[in-house]
Symmetry: C2
Subunit: 116 residues, 2 copies
DNA sequence: CAGTTGCTCTAGTTGAAATAGAACAATATA
DNA sequence: TATATTGTTCTATTTCAACTAGAGCAACTG
């Protein structure tokens, strides 16, 4: 699993982890049943704290992307979803937003508003 | 201008302001040329600090939604944009994301990824 | 001119993020 | 069964952005 993290980013580390892993699951480079590195292991390889990794894992569990079990590790959940339509819509929306000169933050907050 | 703010929210106050004002501009309830309340005035009516309001105003200026001038105030910029297509795409994407059981945070981070 | 309003500076408080260490509970494996 | 693995839970500390506060400055209005 290729995963990097930028301590200088404005985005919290745990959020970078969540985004990165979720992206790989949705993108298909991580498949259902696959096992992620143990939290302590991933933490060491990224030179961050175990708790930060665990926090990310637990968020992804809450979102339904991971199954966590003591002794066994973190396993990609079987959601059996088709993200093609979503990907197409995301691409189209981003293109339109860029055409209008919206920042990522602006578009992102419009999404959140529309979600409620 | 109707605007509220929730100090208990996880979203920073300045971001709530940005989102709220930007939403009203894009939604059409604030039109080009209209003048927003003076920062000190809005701060007092929302019971928050002036600096927080100014920070929001400055972000909206950087995004092109406001013109700021000393002595004159904050005025809605004339971007002359048509947001109908954007609104349609946002609605469609959110519907699809909800169908897939994605959280707002998940969709929001997918957007950010696609933007780069 | 006086008043308004955004801009800039310093300074203090608060809370979330991140780190650190330890012990515990469930699972896997030899 | 015994040992190692791995997520869970707890306490504690550090760091930094968000927020608040106050003051004075700079540009514009009437």
């Amino acid at each position: 699993m290729i995963l990097t993290v930028d301590p200088a980013s404005a985005l919290p580390l745990f959020e970078q982890l969540v985004t990165g892993i979720r992206g790989q699951i949705i993108g298909g480079s991580l498949s259902a049943g696959e096992r992620l590195p143990a939290a302590r292991e991933l933490a060491e390889s990224l030179d961050i704290n175990v708790h930060t990794v665990l926090r990310a894992y637990q968020i992804l569990r809450d979102e339904g992307f991971l199954d966590l079990r003591r002794g066994r590790g973190a396993i990609v959940a079987d959601r059996a979803r088709d993200y093609d339509e979503l990907d197409r819509r995301v691409a189209g929306l981003v293109a339109e937003a860029q055409r209008l000169g919206l920042t990522p933050a602006a578009l992102s907050s419009l999404i959140r508003e529309a979600y409620e």
